[in-house]
Symmetry: D2
Subunit: 339 residues, 4 copies
Amino acid sequence: MGKKLKIGIIGAGRIGKLHSENIVNNFKDIEIKAIADIFADKIEDWARSIGIQNIYEDYHDILNDEEIEAVLICSSTNTHARITIEAANRGKHIFCEKPIDFDVNKIKEALNVVNKAGVKFQIGFNRRFDHNFKKVHELVKSGKIGEPHIIKVTSRDPQAPPIDYVKVSGGMFIDMTIHDFDMVRYLSDSEVEEVYTNAAVLVDPQIGEVGDVDTAIISLKFKNGAIGVIDNSRSAAYGYDQRVEVFGSLGAVTVSNDTETTAVLHTVDGILSDNPKYFFLERYKDSFIEEMREFFDSIINDTETPVTGIDGLKPVLIGMAAKKSYEENKPIRLDEITV
Amino acid sequence: MGKKLKIGIIGAGRIGKLHSENIVNNFKDIEIKAIADIFADKIEDWARSIGIQNIYEDYHDILNDEEIEAVLICSSTNTHARITIEAANRGKHIFCEKPIDFDVNKIKEALNVVNKAGVKFQIGFNRRFDHNFKKVHELVKSGKIGEPHIIKVTSRDPQAPPIDYVKVSGGMFIDMTIHDFDMVRYLSDSEVEEVYTNAAVLVDPQIGEVGDVDTAIISLKFKNGAIGVIDNSRSAAYGYDQRVEVFGSLGAVTVSNDTETTAVLHTVDGILSDNPKYFFLERYKDSFIEEMREFFDSIINDTETPVTGIDGLKPVLIGMAAKKSYEENKPIRLDEITV
Amino acid sequence: MGKKLKIGIIGAGRIGKLHSENIVNNFKDIEIKAIADIFADKIEDWARSIGIQNIYEDYHDILNDEEIEAVLICSSTNTHARITIEAANRGKHIFCEKPIDFDVNKIKEALNVVNKAGVKFQIGFNRRFDHNFKKVHELVKSGKIGEPHIIKVTSRDPQAPPIDYVKVSGGMFIDMTIHDFDMVRYLSDSEVEEVYTNAAVLVDPQIGEVGDVDTAIISLKFKNGAIGVIDNSRSAAYGYDQRVEVFGSLGAVTVSNDTETTAVLHTVDGILSDNPKYFFLERYKDSFIEEMREFFDSIINDTETPVTGIDGLKPVLIGMAAKKSYEENKPIRLDEITV
Amino acid sequence: MGKKLKIGIIGAGRIGKLHSENIVNNFKDIEIKAIADIFADKIEDWARSIGIQNIYEDYHDILNDEEIEAVLICSSTNTHARITIEAANRGKHIFCEKPIDFDVNKIKEALNVVNKAGVKFQIGFNRRFDHNFKKVHELVKSGKIGEPHIIKVTSRDPQAPPIDYVKVSGGMFIDMTIHDFDMVRYLSDSEVEEVYTNAAVLVDPQIGEVGDVDTAIISLKFKNGAIGVIDNSRSAAYGYDQRVEVFGSLGAVTVSNDTETTAVLHTVDGILSDNPKYFFLERYKDSFIEEMREFFDSIINDTETPVTGIDGLKPVLIGMAAKKSYEENKPIRLDEITV
């Protein structure tokens, strides 16, 4: 066993804590040397309990630590681009939660600095590391379904977020569908060229009042000729619905939802199975560990990260096109998105 | 047992024969008194074998028979409107295969005559009578999934039709998707207001050369606020793929494909189940009987037919909008379709 | 189309009527020339409505009709052996409902006469013609699961029969499990050598009071070395449960129950699918037609029937062994069954 | 956070290592103070890598450590009873892998000492902590299926163990079916009263040559009147097959196998799903953590352990009865097992 890779965590909200605990429990060769949060005092007990010694209020204390080779940026979205730039300039490898920013110019600027600095950069599209979607990707790659013709994603949350979140999240296409935009890129192995959005406010009128939608069907054209569709809802009564399907010239591959158990109850009322796993923390539990594994591997082996800067930029562009399409009720080409 | 209802069949191609045999085998109180086909001599043996006594070349011989109370119009599409008008004028009840015509004005004219004549008129959208889709419809009606938000139809044929058929069929949206347009109307219990078509030629370039598409994602807006999507392919390697899903405020209802058996083979290569039933004759076998049952019931009980003239008109209009949307690459409102 | 095969039906209870209607609706080349029932007057209207002209009280009128080439014996069990003998002696081909008799000597005597007469003889084990079980049989035969090691049958009725029926039916092993004994013979392509019965009265104490059981696990040894198990219940709250599994050296094949639809309702309460089809008339609907098809084919083509006399005898012997095993609480070899 | 509970691990083979790593990764409040193995030098690197400081050759060094409150006995079966007795006499709480011994008298003696010492004792029947089986147990307990009538367990290994293992393992009923005997006790909430074994050598003749079987159907009678059946194979080509079913007066509950993914490939060859998870380490991964959680909880909260001494004894008795039944080909009552 050689020297441990030392890392720092910036931001200790829900996702920062999740990554920290996953690392402590799963990666013996990785040491979380420090964690920074603007409410440093509130996270102290938790951080000590998992063995993190250095707890800072100011993330610059992490960036200034020469022993720390990589950082996880888990702070609020509006800080991602800035911290990315600062960290890259200090030569730190970066894992950054999505989205990099709501502003495409800021994303491009950050990615520019990252490129020049030559540091590793990975964006937190964890669903690519999910067992089901990875298998779909493999089967598509294997050629078993031939040329992809239709890519379908069903992505529905179990319940709508608080209205205060909707106001600042960038809207459904940026805070929720962004994962699906990444997924269609991942599964199609191509780029989205054009988007048409059919959306509505059906779950909660308040969502409409703050200028967002809660239900959508987004039609997509890909560079390789394939077509696709995403359907979203903020509120599926039966739980978190996360399915994909790739249909091609030789067949199709589908995935259904994960459930807590395979138990089936047979009574006079029918044959009853489990609902899908509750929400993303349960459904994508292992994917958060796997994305870390591949991030660390790319540092240790000096290979490319599995989700790069361009993978962070593209879904934001698609999200903007989706929004514009909804507002203007016409298909929008990605190259029309000027920023 | 009272007097048998006497009917005549006009057109003895595949679908005319299918209905004839279904009636002979399933409806003891219905008598097929006569059948007419322009190739009368070629169908004689078959017709006699199922007990049809009168075989005519000219369908007017059926219309002129006062004992015959109802006709099934199973001839080629370009004759449907004309025969409908003639039959209605003779006071015959009419079951007409879809579509009534490719020309909306001719459809409207025919329906006008039908209305004035006060005869029963049913259009052959057999899928409404399929056990699976009927159950979806019932569950939606029951309120168990709340208000419908998203209506989804996957409809893929096992293989593309001959190119000569594609040339005269009216194109994929009229010869194939028309069933799906009817299905979304049936399941949503609402009307399509706007259509956006995302389509491509991915199966066979020849189909593109004759001006048609073979793969499509059609996005829909309904009057009741719901949204929907149909995805089509002319060629699914694994067979006839016929699924629907209605997602609502309280849940969802889905149906998967019917298979010949429930047998599952477990080997080192995986867990292998049956492909879907081969094509529409196999998949929708019973629905062709059920639509007849309800047609005859509506005559006998003098009630409204379950699929009316307007149900014959609307899907053609949606198909025209879908085609126009594809040609102009923009969403098309149904009320923009002038004819 | 040549001359029709003329047949007679003996016994017009539920199963006699079912076969009659199936034949009228599905076999144009077969003519039911006559039907006999001790309550001839009660079946007259029904018989006429499906076109049967000759309705007799005495089945000898059928046996005496030289034009009639085959008979279906659908009368009460205690008459099967006698009528079989008489019919064979008149040179009629015979389809006989199961069981041939409760008395093994009578069965053997009847089969003897049949053999000497050289007439076709088929026993009504309709489940062999079920789409699911036929597929299992084919997959086993194909060698895809290798050598069979374990044969499993789950067979549970939706509700217990009236106690008056239980008193005279021969008991659960003879009136119900007999089908499963035939199934294991069919699927194993071997013979049962030994039986051990583990049974109980758990559904209804009245069943115990008349000397029968209502719940059983029957362990089997086959001549080819395989082992097997049948589990039975007279009352499955969720419906008619009819599953089989054959496990072999290279894999397994299983079948699940048939349902009316593939509709699945997803709500906060779980994911709800259809119960199995209600009972044997629904579940095995098509198998009753298929067994007739093969019976008629064997007559027309002069080939062996698919379910022969020995197939009628063996399950009765196994049933007797099962009962003896239960009574003595020890495994019973089939060759211990002396009669 | 209070003082950590200090424990020792005795035996660092596959299962000892598995528990150690699970504890290190999942239980921050538990400290593995020491580990003992007769090949102490071979495990040193591994033990240090997960932070265990004290590595002994002699497990008495653990028993002599007064700070250590509990031990996990993961050594070879022939040492379980002896170490249990010694550990209990030192006042250590005990988690002991199954079986306690092959000799019932030794088991009883060990349990006696445990009882007198008043220490916690848990036996390693991890499958009770599996998500699927726990859910079945809950549903049975909930009364949703009414009174249990039939308990079924299918338990097939993906491949037969080395013949050298079979020679010393106690045979299939003790090394493999023992888990299923525990499972039927767990699911029935009752005791097995009588066993009848139908078994064969179908997988590998060598297994027969050393006096064991590789395929079995074991029929069971329970004290509460229910009946049951276990079917076993040493070699299922399609993988580790672990299913249970409890059928009762109001319905049934079933579980199917866990798979790595829900991906389904649809091609012209059929609809292909994943095989079951490979073997017990994959299939029961989480159950090994859960059994530890409940063991530690029972110590910390001073409550009864979820799998007690009697739960360690009974399956061995049933296994002996199963073997005797096979040898004598007759049902064996548990109370006939004298030792």
